[in-house]
Amino acid sequence: MSWDAQYRAGTLLSNANSAPKARSRRNAATLDDSDDERPNPRTNDSDRDVVMAPPSFELEDEETPLQKLMRHWMNERHAPDILPAQDELLASLLDHIRRQSEAVQLLRGEPSTSEEDHIRIMLVQTEVERVKFIVRSYVRTRLFKIEKFARFIMSNPEIQTRITTAERAHASRHANLTDKHFHFSVLQSLPETQSHLDDTPIFMPPMVTQPDESVPVFVHALRECGPIHFPDGSSLNKMTPGYISLMPFASAKALLNRGDVELV
Protein backbone atom coordinates (compact mmCIF):
# COMPACT_ATOMS: atom_id res chain seq x y z
CA MET A 1 0.00 0.00 0.00
CA SER A 2 1.64 3.17 -1.05
CA TRP A 3 2.13 5.88 1.45
CA ASP A 4 1.10 8.66 -0.85
CA ALA A 5 -2.08 7.01 -2.00
CA GLN A 6 -3.14 6.60 1.59
CA TYR A 7 -2.41 10.18 2.16
CA ARG A 8 -4.21 11.68 -0.73
CA ALA A 9 -7.16 9.61 0.31
CA GLY A 10 -8.11 11.90 3.12
CA THR A 11 -11.58 10.47 3.38
CA LEU A 12 -11.60 7.70 5.86
CA LEU A 13 -15.19 8.56 6.48
CA SER A 14 -16.41 7.64 3.09
CA ASN A 15 -15.85 3.93 3.15
CA ALA A 16 -19.25 3.43 4.70
CA ASN A 17 -20.76 0.25 3.43
CA SER A 18 -24.26 1.13 4.42
CA ALA A 19 -26.60 3.85 3.31
CA PRO A 20 -25.30 4.00 -0.23
CA LYS A 21 -27.96 6.46 -1.29
CA ALA A 22 -27.24 8.92 1.42
CA ARG A 23 -23.59 8.59 0.74
CA SER A 24 -23.71 9.25 -2.94
CA ARG A 25 -25.84 12.30 -2.32
CA ARG A 26 -23.49 13.42 0.32
CA ASN A 27 -20.51 12.95 -1.89
CA ALA A 28 -22.12 14.97 -4.60
CA ALA A 29 -23.08 17.65 -2.21
CA THR A 30 -20.04 18.06 -0.08
CA LEU A 31 -17.07 15.84 -0.36
CA ASP A 32 -16.22 16.03 -4.01
CA ASP A 33 -16.35 19.72 -4.36
CA SER A 34 -14.57 20.27 -1.11
CA ASP A 35 -11.36 18.57 -2.01
CA ASP A 36 -10.15 18.00 -5.51
CA GLU A 37 -7.46 15.61 -4.51
CA ARG A 38 -9.91 13.19 -3.03
CA PRO A 39 -10.23 9.99 -5.05
CA ASN A 40 -13.45 8.09 -5.57
CA PRO A 41 -14.65 7.30 -2.09
CA ARG A 42 -15.83 3.82 -3.04
CA THR A 43 -12.37 2.59 -3.81
CA ASN A 44 -10.60 3.31 -0.63
CA ASP A 45 -11.75 0.82 1.92
CA SER A 46 -8.29 0.86 3.38
CA ASP A 47 -8.25 4.52 4.25
CA ARG A 48 -9.52 3.91 7.66
CA ASP A 49 -6.32 2.05 8.44
CA VAL A 50 -4.41 5.28 8.19
CA VAL A 51 -5.51 6.21 11.63
CA MET A 52 -7.48 3.29 12.95
CA ALA A 53 -5.14 0.33 12.57
CA PRO A 54 -3.40 -0.93 15.66
CA PRO A 55 0.36 -0.74 15.37
CA SER A 56 1.86 -3.90 13.95
CA PHE A 57 5.58 -4.06 14.25
CA GLU A 58 6.03 -7.19 12.17
CA LEU A 59 4.96 -5.51 8.95
CA GLU A 60 7.62 -2.91 9.01
CA ASP A 61 7.48 -2.14 5.32
CA GLU A 62 3.86 -1.21 5.63
CA GLU A 63 4.30 1.01 8.61
CA THR A 64 1.74 3.77 8.36
CA PRO A 65 2.71 7.40 8.88
CA LEU A 66 1.07 7.34 12.28
CA GLN A 67 3.06 4.29 13.30
CA LYS A 68 6.18 6.01 12.09
CA LEU A 69 5.38 9.03 14.18
CA MET A 70 4.71 6.85 17.20
CA ARG A 71 8.08 5.20 16.75
CA HIS A 72 9.82 8.57 16.48
CA TRP A 73 7.83 9.82 19.43
CA MET A 74 8.99 6.92 21.62
CA ASN A 75 12.56 7.30 20.41
CA GLU A 76 12.52 10.99 21.14
CA ARG A 77 11.15 10.45 24.61
CA HIS A 78 13.82 7.91 25.47
CA ALA A 79 16.84 9.55 23.90
CA PRO A 80 18.95 11.97 25.93
CA ASP A 81 19.91 13.91 22.82
CA ILE A 82 17.74 15.63 20.22
CA LEU A 83 17.05 13.27 17.33
CA PRO A 84 16.82 14.42 13.70
CA ALA A 85 13.58 16.31 13.06
CA GLN A 86 10.87 14.47 11.13
CA ASP A 87 9.43 17.57 9.54
CA GLU A 88 8.11 15.93 6.38
CA LEU A 89 6.33 13.20 8.25
CA LEU A 90 4.94 15.69 10.70
CA ALA A 91 3.84 18.11 8.01
CA SER A 92 1.99 15.43 6.09
CA LEU A 93 0.28 14.17 9.23
CA LEU A 94 -0.74 17.69 10.18
CA ASP A 95 -2.08 18.15 6.70
CA HIS A 96 -4.01 14.95 7.05
CA ILE A 97 -5.45 16.02 10.39
CA ARG A 98 -6.58 19.29 8.90
CA ARG A 99 -8.28 17.68 5.95
CA GLN A 100 -10.04 15.17 8.12
CA SER A 101 -11.26 17.85 10.46
CA GLU A 102 -12.62 19.78 7.50
CA ALA A 103 -14.35 16.69 6.14
CA VAL A 104 -15.83 16.01 9.55
CA GLN A 105 -17.10 19.57 9.79
CA LEU A 106 -18.79 19.28 6.40
CA LEU A 107 -20.38 15.94 7.17
CA ARG A 108 -21.68 17.09 10.52
CA GLY A 109 -23.42 19.98 8.89
CA GLU A 110 -25.04 17.71 6.33
CA PRO A 111 -28.64 16.89 7.29
CA SER A 112 -28.69 13.63 5.32
CA THR A 113 -25.93 12.11 7.40
CA SER A 114 -27.43 9.03 9.02
CA GLU A 115 -27.30 8.10 12.66
CA GLU A 116 -24.80 5.39 11.90
CA ASP A 117 -22.57 7.81 10.07
CA HIS A 118 -22.66 10.09 13.07
CA ILE A 119 -21.20 7.37 15.20
CA ARG A 120 -18.57 6.85 12.58
CA ILE A 121 -17.81 10.57 12.56
CA MET A 122 -17.44 10.47 16.29
CA LEU A 123 -14.93 7.65 16.03
CA VAL A 124 -12.96 9.61 13.50
CA GLN A 125 -13.00 12.72 15.66
CA THR A 126 -11.81 10.75 18.66
CA GLU A 127 -9.05 9.24 16.61
CA VAL A 128 -8.05 12.67 15.32
CA GLU A 129 -7.87 13.91 18.90
CA ARG A 130 -5.65 11.00 19.81
CA VAL A 131 -3.34 11.59 16.89
CA LYS A 132 -3.13 15.24 17.90
CA PHE A 133 -2.17 14.13 21.37
CA ILE A 134 0.81 12.21 20.03
CA VAL A 135 1.88 15.05 17.77
CA ARG A 136 1.66 17.44 20.68
CA SER A 137 3.61 15.20 22.98
CA TYR A 138 6.26 14.69 20.31
CA VAL A 139 6.65 18.39 19.64
CA ARG A 140 6.75 19.22 23.32
CA THR A 141 9.35 16.56 24.08
CA ARG A 142 11.61 18.15 21.52
CA LEU A 143 10.83 21.59 22.82
CA PHE A 144 11.79 20.55 26.32
CA LYS A 145 15.18 19.30 25.17
CA ILE A 146 15.72 22.35 23.01
CA GLU A 147 15.15 24.64 25.96
CA LYS A 148 17.42 22.56 28.13
CA PHE A 149 20.29 22.63 25.64
CA ALA A 150 19.54 26.03 24.10
CA ARG A 151 22.95 27.48 24.74
CA PHE A 152 24.74 24.38 23.53
CA ILE A 153 22.62 24.28 20.38
CA MET A 154 23.50 27.83 19.49
CA SER A 155 27.21 27.05 19.73
CA ASN A 156 27.08 23.74 17.91
CA PRO A 157 26.39 23.69 14.14
CA GLU A 158 26.03 19.89 14.04
CA ILE A 159 23.04 19.78 16.33
CA GLN A 160 21.43 22.61 14.40
CA THR A 161 21.14 20.36 11.37
CA ARG A 162 18.89 18.09 13.37
CA ILE A 163 16.24 20.62 14.25
CA THR A 164 13.67 22.55 12.24
CA THR A 165 13.87 26.25 11.51
CA ALA A 166 11.14 27.02 14.00
CA GLU A 167 12.90 24.98 16.65
CA ARG A 168 16.16 26.72 15.95
CA ALA A 169 14.49 30.09 16.26
CA HIS A 170 13.04 29.03 19.58
CA ALA A 171 16.42 27.79 20.79
CA SER A 172 18.00 31.10 19.90
CA ARG A 173 15.25 33.08 21.60
CA HIS A 174 15.46 30.84 24.62
CA ALA A 175 19.24 31.08 24.96
CA ASN A 176 18.98 34.85 24.82
CA LEU A 177 16.16 34.96 27.27
CA THR A 178 17.97 32.81 29.81
CA ASP A 179 21.17 34.81 29.44
CA LYS A 180 19.26 38.01 29.93
CA HIS A 181 17.51 36.71 32.99
CA PHE A 182 20.79 35.63 34.57
CA HIS A 183 22.35 38.92 33.64
CA PHE A 184 19.68 41.06 35.24
CA SER A 185 19.15 38.87 38.30
CA VAL A 186 22.74 38.09 39.17
CA LEU A 187 25.58 38.87 36.84
CA GLN A 188 25.12 42.60 36.44
CA SER A 189 25.58 43.06 40.18
CA LEU A 190 28.76 41.01 40.34
CA PRO A 191 32.18 42.53 39.83
CA GLU A 192 33.23 42.74 36.19
CA THR A 193 35.61 39.78 36.37
CA GLN A 194 32.86 37.44 37.46
CA SER A 195 30.10 38.49 35.12
CA HIS A 196 30.48 35.86 32.40
CA LEU A 197 28.34 32.85 31.82
CA ASP A 198 30.80 30.51 30.24
CA ASP A 199 33.73 30.29 32.61
CA THR A 200 35.40 26.93 32.91
CA PRO A 201 36.74 26.89 36.45
CA ILE A 202 38.95 24.02 37.46
CA PHE A 203 37.39 21.19 39.45
CA MET A 204 33.91 21.99 38.16
CA PRO A 205 31.80 20.76 35.27
CA PRO A 206 31.28 23.24 32.42
CA MET A 207 28.38 25.65 32.73
CA VAL A 208 26.72 24.92 29.41
CA THR A 209 24.39 21.94 29.62
CA GLN A 210 25.17 19.32 27.02
CA PRO A 211 23.34 16.15 26.05
CA ASP A 212 24.82 13.21 27.93
CA GLU A 213 25.36 10.42 25.43
CA SER A 214 26.55 7.88 27.96
CA VAL A 215 23.03 7.47 29.34
CA PRO A 216 21.92 3.85 28.95
CA VAL A 217 18.91 3.18 26.75
CA PHE A 218 16.90 0.05 25.95
CA VAL A 219 17.29 -0.79 22.31
CA HIS A 220 14.85 -3.00 20.42
CA ALA A 221 16.14 -4.30 17.10
CA LEU A 222 13.71 -4.01 14.20
CA ARG A 223 16.09 -5.39 11.59
CA GLU A 224 19.20 -7.44 11.74
CA CYS A 225 22.08 -5.14 12.49
CA GLY A 226 25.56 -5.00 13.87
CA PRO A 227 28.31 -5.08 14.82
CA ILE A 228 27.89 -2.50 17.57
CA HIS A 229 30.92 -1.05 19.27
CA PHE A 230 30.85 0.10 22.85
CA PRO A 231 32.96 2.86 24.38
CA ASP A 232 34.87 0.37 26.56
CA GLY A 233 36.24 -1.37 23.48
CA SER A 234 33.99 -4.43 23.49
CA SER A 235 31.40 -5.01 20.81
CA LEU A 236 28.23 -6.88 20.01
CA ASN A 237 28.45 -8.84 16.78
CA LYS A 238 24.88 -8.65 15.68
CA MET A 239 21.36 -8.05 16.81
CA THR A 240 18.50 -10.08 15.38
CA PRO A 241 15.02 -8.58 15.01
CA GLY A 242 13.18 -8.53 18.32
CA TYR A 243 16.39 -8.55 20.34
CA ILE A 244 16.39 -6.09 23.23
CA SER A 245 19.58 -4.78 24.76
CA LEU A 246 20.69 -2.11 27.20
CA MET A 247 23.53 0.06 25.91
CA PRO A 248 24.86 3.60 26.07
CA PHE A 249 23.02 6.01 23.82
CA ALA A 250 26.23 6.85 21.96
CA SER A 251 26.44 3.26 20.67
CA ALA A 252 22.81 3.11 19.61
CA LYS A 253 22.76 6.49 17.87
CA ALA A 254 23.84 5.42 14.39
CA LEU A 255 21.49 2.41 14.36
CA LEU A 256 18.65 4.61 15.52
CA ASN A 257 19.21 7.15 12.77
CA ARG A 258 19.15 4.36 10.18
CA GLY A 259 15.88 3.07 11.61
CA ASP A 260 17.36 -0.36 12.41
CA VAL A 261 16.37 -0.12 16.04
CA GLU A 262 13.88 1.66 18.22
CA LEU A 263 14.15 2.74 21.83
CA VAL A 264 11.77 1.17 24.30
Binding site: D95, T126, F133, V135, H181, Q194, P201, M204
Partner: protein, 200 residues
Protein backbone atom coordinates in the same frame (compact mmCIF):
# COMPACT_ATOMS: atom_id res chain seq x y z
CA UNK B 1 31.84 39.23 56.63
CA UNK B 2 31.25 38.11 60.17
CA UNK B 3 33.79 35.99 61.94
CA UNK B 4 31.45 33.12 62.60
CA UNK B 5 30.57 32.55 58.98
CA UNK B 6 32.51 30.50 56.50
CA UNK B 7 32.85 31.15 52.80
CA UNK B 8 30.00 29.49 51.02
CA UNK B 9 27.56 29.30 53.92
CA UNK B 10 25.15 31.66 52.24
CA UNK B 11 25.37 29.80 48.99
CA UNK B 12 24.58 26.56 50.79
CA UNK B 13 21.48 28.17 52.27
CA UNK B 14 20.38 29.22 48.82
CA UNK B 15 20.84 25.75 47.42
CA UNK B 16 18.93 24.31 50.37
CA UNK B 17 16.01 26.50 49.36
CA UNK B 18 16.04 25.08 45.89
CA UNK B 19 16.17 21.61 47.29
CA UNK B 20 13.28 22.28 49.64
CA UNK B 21 11.32 23.64 46.73
CA UNK B 22 11.90 20.45 44.77
CA UNK B 23 11.16 18.13 47.65
CA UNK B 24 7.96 19.89 48.64
CA UNK B 25 7.03 20.59 45.02
CA UNK B 26 6.19 24.22 45.76
CA UNK B 27 7.47 27.52 44.53
CA UNK B 28 9.08 29.37 47.42
CA UNK B 29 9.24 33.13 47.64
CA UNK B 30 12.16 34.69 45.80
CA UNK B 31 14.80 35.18 48.47
CA UNK B 32 15.92 38.64 47.56
CA UNK B 33 17.83 39.40 50.77
CA UNK B 34 19.86 36.19 50.60
CA UNK B 35 20.71 36.81 46.96
CA UNK B 36 21.79 40.33 47.84
CA UNK B 37 24.00 39.23 50.71
CA UNK B 38 25.62 36.68 48.47
CA UNK B 39 26.34 39.31 45.87
CA UNK B 40 27.85 41.46 48.61
CA UNK B 41 30.00 38.53 49.67
CA UNK B 42 31.14 38.16 46.09
CA UNK B 43 32.24 41.79 45.97
CA UNK B 44 34.10 41.42 49.26
CA UNK B 45 35.80 38.30 47.99
CA UNK B 46 36.79 40.10 44.83
CA UNK B 47 38.34 42.89 46.88
CA UNK B 48 40.12 40.36 49.07
CA UNK B 49 41.49 38.69 45.98
CA UNK B 50 42.83 41.99 44.69
CA UNK B 51 44.72 42.69 47.89
CA UNK B 52 46.53 39.36 47.85
CA UNK B 53 50.03 39.95 46.64
CA UNK B 54 51.23 37.72 43.88
CA UNK B 55 54.98 37.53 44.09
CA UNK B 56 55.30 34.69 41.60
CA UNK B 57 52.87 34.12 38.72
CA UNK B 58 53.86 30.48 38.36
CA UNK B 59 52.89 29.63 41.92
CA UNK B 60 49.94 31.69 43.09
CA UNK B 61 49.61 31.88 46.87
CA UNK B 62 47.14 29.41 48.44
CA UNK B 63 45.02 32.28 49.79
CA UNK B 64 44.22 33.34 46.26
CA UNK B 65 43.24 29.83 45.22
CA UNK B 66 40.87 29.55 48.14
CA UNK B 67 39.26 32.88 47.36
CA UNK B 68 38.91 32.04 43.70
CA UNK B 69 37.30 28.70 44.49
CA UNK B 70 34.87 30.39 46.85
CA UNK B 71 33.99 32.94 44.17
CA UNK B 72 33.32 30.28 41.54
CA UNK B 73 31.29 28.22 43.91
CA UNK B 74 29.15 31.12 45.07
CA UNK B 75 28.52 32.21 41.54
CA UNK B 76 27.56 28.72 40.52
CA UNK B 77 25.15 28.44 43.41
CA UNK B 78 23.58 31.79 42.59
CA UNK B 79 23.00 30.78 39.01
CA UNK B 80 21.76 27.35 40.01
CA UNK B 81 19.22 28.93 42.32
CA UNK B 82 17.88 31.17 39.56
CA UNK B 83 17.97 28.46 36.98
CA UNK B 84 16.06 26.12 39.27
CA UNK B 85 13.39 28.74 39.83
CA UNK B 86 13.05 29.46 36.15
CA UNK B 87 12.64 25.74 35.46
CA UNK B 88 9.87 25.61 38.01
CA UNK B 89 8.19 28.63 36.49
CA UNK B 90 8.27 27.03 33.07
CA UNK B 91 6.74 23.88 34.54
CA UNK B 92 3.98 25.95 36.06
CA UNK B 93 3.46 27.76 32.80
CA UNK B 94 2.93 24.51 30.94
CA UNK B 95 0.66 22.96 33.56
CA UNK B 96 -1.82 25.79 33.11
CA UNK B 97 -1.66 25.28 29.36
CA UNK B 98 0.33 28.41 28.64
CA UNK B 99 -2.27 30.74 30.16
CA UNK B 100 0.09 33.44 31.36
CA UNK B 101 -2.52 35.99 32.53
CA UNK B 102 -4.05 33.26 34.65
CA UNK B 103 -0.69 32.64 36.29
CA UNK B 104 0.22 36.28 36.79
CA UNK B 105 -3.18 37.32 38.11
CA UNK B 106 -2.82 34.82 40.92
CA UNK B 107 -1.69 37.04 43.80
CA UNK B 108 -0.19 34.19 45.74
CA UNK B 109 2.12 33.23 42.88
CA UNK B 110 2.79 36.79 41.86
CA UNK B 111 4.05 37.71 45.32
CA UNK B 112 6.65 34.95 45.14
CA UNK B 113 8.24 36.17 41.93
CA UNK B 114 11.00 38.68 41.47
CA UNK B 115 10.30 41.44 38.92
CA UNK B 116 12.83 39.87 36.57
CA UNK B 117 11.02 36.60 36.76
CA UNK B 118 7.78 38.24 35.72
CA UNK B 119 9.60 39.71 32.73
CA UNK B 120 11.10 36.33 32.02
CA UNK B 121 7.70 34.66 31.98
CA UNK B 122 6.27 37.32 29.67
CA UNK B 123 9.08 36.92 27.19
CA UNK B 124 9.01 33.17 27.46
CA UNK B 125 5.31 33.30 26.72
CA UNK B 126 5.81 35.33 23.57
CA UNK B 127 8.56 33.00 22.44
CA UNK B 128 6.30 29.98 22.91
CA UNK B 129 3.42 31.74 21.17
CA UNK B 130 5.65 32.37 18.20
CA UNK B 131 6.62 28.73 18.10
CA UNK B 132 3.00 27.67 18.50
CA UNK B 133 1.87 29.72 15.53
CA UNK B 134 3.68 27.19 13.33
CA UNK B 135 1.00 24.66 14.19
CA UNK B 136 -1.98 26.90 14.75
CA UNK B 137 -3.98 25.55 11.81
CA UNK B 138 -4.05 22.03 13.06
CA UNK B 139 -3.63 21.92 16.76
CA UNK B 140 -2.73 23.74 19.91
CA UNK B 141 0.60 22.46 21.17
CA UNK B 142 0.09 24.02 24.57
CA UNK B 143 -2.83 21.73 25.39
CA UNK B 144 -2.38 19.01 27.94
CA UNK B 145 -0.16 16.02 27.27
CA UNK B 146 -0.72 14.22 30.53
CA UNK B 147 -3.54 11.85 29.61
CA UNK B 148 -4.38 10.72 26.12
CA UNK B 149 -7.97 11.62 25.23
CA UNK B 150 -10.44 8.75 25.65
CA UNK B 151 -13.73 10.49 24.96
CA UNK B 152 -14.65 13.25 22.65
CA UNK B 153 -17.08 14.81 25.05
CA UNK B 154 -16.90 15.44 28.70
CA UNK B 155 -19.41 16.34 31.39
CA UNK B 156 -18.23 19.40 33.25
CA UNK B 157 -19.35 21.24 36.31
CA UNK B 158 -18.77 24.99 36.36
CA UNK B 159 -16.78 26.00 39.43
CA UNK B 160 -16.23 29.65 38.57
CA UNK B 161 -18.01 31.91 36.12
CA UNK B 162 -16.00 32.17 32.97
CA UNK B 163 -18.26 34.02 30.60
CA UNK B 164 -19.24 33.11 27.08
CA UNK B 165 -17.04 30.53 25.37
CA UNK B 166 -17.18 29.46 21.75
CA UNK B 167 -17.77 25.75 21.34
CA UNK B 168 -18.83 23.52 18.50
CA UNK B 169 -22.43 23.84 19.70
CA UNK B 170 -22.25 27.62 19.46
CA UNK B 171 -21.43 29.95 22.32
CA UNK B 172 -22.17 28.80 25.81
CA UNK B 173 -22.37 31.07 28.82
CA UNK B 174 -20.74 29.11 31.61
CA UNK B 175 -22.19 30.12 34.96
CA UNK B 176 -21.30 28.79 38.33
CA UNK B 177 -23.15 25.65 39.35
CA UNK B 178 -24.27 24.63 35.87
CA UNK B 179 -23.36 21.43 34.13
CA UNK B 180 -22.63 20.93 30.46
CA UNK B 181 -21.76 18.13 28.11
CA UNK B 182 -19.17 19.69 25.83
CA UNK B 183 -16.40 18.75 23.49
CA UNK B 184 -13.21 18.22 25.43
CA UNK B 185 -10.98 20.04 22.98
CA UNK B 186 -13.11 23.19 23.26
CA UNK B 187 -12.88 23.62 26.99
CA UNK B 188 -9.83 21.67 28.10
CA UNK B 189 -7.94 24.85 28.92
CA UNK B 190 -10.74 25.88 31.26
CA UNK B 191 -10.45 22.62 33.17
CA UNK B 192 -6.71 23.11 33.45
CA UNK B 193 -7.17 26.64 34.74
CA UNK B 194 -9.71 25.53 37.29
CA UNK B 195 -12.86 27.16 35.90
CA UNK B 196 -14.51 23.87 35.12
CA UNK B 197 -14.37 20.52 36.81
CA UNK B 198 -14.79 17.17 35.18
CA UNK B 199 -17.70 15.16 36.55
CA UNK B 200 -16.80 11.52 36.56
Amino acid sequence: MSETRQFGDLATQLIMESRRSTMSDTLLKYNDSLVRSLIREQRDLEKAAETVEIPDLENPPPALLIIQTAISRNKRCLLAYHSHRVDRLRDMYWTVGGALPHLLSNQDIRSKLSPYEVDYLRQYNSSVMEFRSEFSHELDITASIVNPPKDLHVLVHVVRDCGVIQTELGSIDFQKGQRFMVRRADIEHLIVQGYLEEVS
